[in-house]
Amino acid sequence: MSKEEGDTTRMATHTTTPHQPAPGGDHGHAAHPSGYAHQFEDLGQQLDSSVLGMWIFLAQEIMFFGGLFAGYSVYRWRAPEAFAAASNHLNVPLGGLNTVVLILSSLTMALAVRAAMMGENKQILRYLVATLILGCTFLGVKVIEYADKFEHHLVPGYNFQWPVASEAAGAQMFYVFYFVMTGMHAFHMIIGAGLLLYFINKARKNTYHTQYYGPIENMGLYWHFVDIVWIFLFPLLYLLGLHLGSGH
């Protein structure tokens, strides 16, 4: 292509010969490293692009949860006592247990990413399974907590009852946020668990190597993000009214 580079046009490329490569990622020439996607120049560009894509996706996620956090702030500012009193009906030990579980799962996830960078598929498998077990533990504890709220008439719009009439509206609003924020978080955990299953299967087939570990790195970014959301939810929801003494 050196001849055309001297041209005064902006670029040097062949445009006259009709040419049709086979569709899809596999077009017949050998020497593609495994994992390589057709639209990129090489695996380095592919890795950079996919990780940037995940960060942009997470920016989108932050704005998504941000709407909820903004609403929480406004309503808590309006009814601080009711929010604190309502918060005291959450189960701090279970919430604390879940916080520990999630932080541990972040550790195993980070170890899985490290294993992926080293190309150790067996280790990836091991750490992803551990992450999945921890994630499911979290969701199991969440089910216990939700069931408890149904029993104690703390589900807004369904069976909400509150002893102090002046606090009822604010307390109900607290539980609206409790269910929607933890619900959205749990929904992201479930998506994450599904993705973990997918990657566990991939690692079982020795898919990853030192040049191709982007999907696991992105899985890690997503998982850590979901954990961080919980790190904010735990104090905002569970610990908010502790200094007022336990409600029950």
């Binding site: 040097a12 009709p18 090489d42 692009s49 996919s50 894509g53 989108q60 709407g67 609403g71 719009g157």
Partner: protein, 549 residues
């Protein structure tokens, strides 16, 4: 971008000439389209889908205009009228205007202008189209199960308590359409960052790419906020979670804040891409560099940034504090600066340029005039004192239609006429296209200019009946809308005709600069046989070279 030229494809020898293969005829069969990951085919699928919704939105607009032909409510009931203008808004905003240029022209051109074989994530691009289709099905279900009467803004408590329309279905439609928009923005941001060809520096990028880049930022940071807002409204309606219900300690104004935090920037999702198209058109049809390239590029980014801090001007009369109103008023005025930079720079580009008057350029001229009127009347409405008089009148309706139709659709139509030969390989009839552009220009102004006057005189929006003294202006508006509709129908005929009978366009029918004009029309599936190397700035026209052709 890797610095090496020896990508996996550079060394591939071109196969024997295969008889005019391109992305359209490379493979055939329905599944080769529905499962394609080719950005160009996805652009065509989007083009067809949004055209359907343009027709649906247009149909409801005609219902509205016909009802307003007479002062009494004789065609539609009050409730039917509410449903007609709501469905018009939902179809046009969520399913036509927001995806219009990014999903069609953007999808087609962003990789080619970057010198890349495809977007960074082709499968996500296909997923985005399916998100759009899922949203579209929800919207159609809403339309056929009685429609929605809340207005396209889904304000509570209309949408949560009082409406008896198919609100949930319409909300799900907007939600999924939003996801398609997010995924498109994500793809463009990564592609523009990571996949530009060697030599294509930020300062050499076509201004269309800069506009798409700024648009994508809004899509990524704004859309998720309206997504969660719509979920909250749906939960309030379905499960009685009283987020925005004062009885339960909620605040309807908060819903409006959250809604407009996205939906005002969404206006710039509609207007930034046509601004990018404008820069391409003005350069190509004036044979000149775009005057003040860096200012035009940066004004796109500035508009994207400022767009996030002006949403409160939708709440001047909703119960927002007066002081917040003053701040939002001031911030809104700031948008005028980058917008004016663009308009003046396009005009400075034309000055002493070698201007030719093909159909795309007629749309560009229309854009400049309409955008100026729409933008300046926006400053009227940004002034709190004036807005208290004019809010919720036809003045507002006229203002935003000058932006969303007079500017956004003019830019879309101009771009479609400019790149149609590239997308299809065929030329349409320039005479018919010019006639259509003139009809649209005349019809548009006849429709909406009277609405400025009738609004200023005090006619409120969203009523199916009005006092008799407003009838003359409303008749003008309805007649104009009929002319406008004819102008929109014509391209359906001459574009389709061009596919069968049109002259072959050749690679560069306009004699324009830009990577997309240096490959064959229609392009091959991979766009480029080898990775292009960019050696010049965008718009490197030879000045004083006289007319083209």
């Amino acid at each position: 971008m890797s610095t090496t030229m020896a990508g996996p494809h550079a060394a591939v020898p071109p196969p024997a000439a295969g008889g005019g293969k391109n992305y359209l005829n490379a493979t055939s069969g329905l599944s080769s389209w529905l499962l394609t990951v080719d950005h160009k085919r996805i652009a065509i699928m989007y083009l067809i889908s949004i055209s359907v919704f343009f027709a649906i939105g247009g149909f409801f607009a005609m219902l509205v205009r016909l009802e307003l032909l007479t002062p009494k409510g004789d065609l539609l009931t009050a409730d039917g009228y509410n449903r007609a203008f709501t469905m018009h808004g939902i179809a046009m905003v969520f399913f036509f205007l927001i995806p219009s240029i990014p999903a069609t022209l953007g999808n087609f051109l962003v990789p080619i202008m970057c010198g890349a074989r495809d977007l960074a994530f082709p499968k996500i691009n296909l997923l985005s189209w399916y998100c759009y289709i899922i949203g579209a099905v929800f919207a159609l279900v809403a339309a056929f199960s009685g429609g929605v009467d809340t207005g396209w803004t889904f304000y509570t408590p209309y949408s949560s308590t009082f409406s008896n329309g198919a609100v949930l279905s319409a909300i799900m439609g907007a939600f999924f359409a939003g996801f398609s928009s997010i995924l498109t923005g994500l793809n463009f941001l990564v592609t523009i960052h990571k996949m530009r060809a060697p030599g294509l520096t930020w300062g050499r990028m076509p201004l269309f790419l800069w506009a798409q880049y700024a648009t994508s930022i809004i899509q990524i940071l704004g859309t998720p906020v309206v997504a969660i807002t719509l979920i909250l409204v749906a939960l309030e309606r379905a499960l009685h979670f009283g987020f925005f219900d004062p009885k339960m300690g909620g605040d309807p104004i908060l819903m409006q804040h959250l809604f407009w935090f996205y939906s005002h920037p969404a206006v710039y999702v509609m207007i930034l891409p046509p601004m990018g198209v404008m820069s391409e058109l003005v350069a190509a049809f004036c044979r000149r560099r775009v005057y003040g390239y860096h200012f035009v590029a940066m004004s796109s980014v500035a508009i994207a940034v400022i767009s996030f801090i002006v949403w409160g001007h939708h709440l001047f009369t909703s119960g927002q504090s007066v002081y917040a109103g003053m701040v939002f008023s001031f911030l809104t005025f700031l948008v005028g600066i980058p917008s004016a930079i663009k308009v003046w720079n396009w005009m400075a580009t034309m000055y002493k340029g070698s201007i030719s008057y093909e159909a795309p350029m007629l749309y560009a001229f229309g854009f400049i005039g309409m955008f100026t009127i729409g933008g300046l009347t926006g400053l009227f409405l940004a002034t709190v004192a004036l807005d208290i008089h004019m809010h919720d009148t036809y003045f507002v309706v006229a203002h935003f239609h000058y932006i969303m139709v007079g500017s956004a659709i003019f830019g879309y139509m101009g771009g479609l006429h400019y790149w149609w030969p590239k997308m299809t390989g065929k030329m349409y009839s320039d005479g018919w296209a010019r006639l259509s552009a003139l009809l649209i220009f005349a019809g548009f102004n006849f429709t909406f200019f009277p609405q400025f006057i009738v609004g200023y005189l005090g006619m409120p929006r969203r009523y199916h009946a009005y006092p008799e003294e407003f009838q003359v202006l409303n008749v003008m508006s309805t007649v104009g809308a009929s002319v406008l509709a004819m102008g929109y129908l014509l391209p359906a005929f001459y574009f389709v005709h061009s596919l069968y009978k049109g002259k072959d366009a050749g690679p560069n029918p306009w004699g324009a600069k830009g990577l997309e004009w240096q490959i064959q029309s229609p392009p091959i599936t991979e766009n480029f046989l080898t990775v292009p190397v960019v050696k010049e700035e965008a718009y490197a026209y030879v000045e004083g070279g006289g007319g083209h052709h």
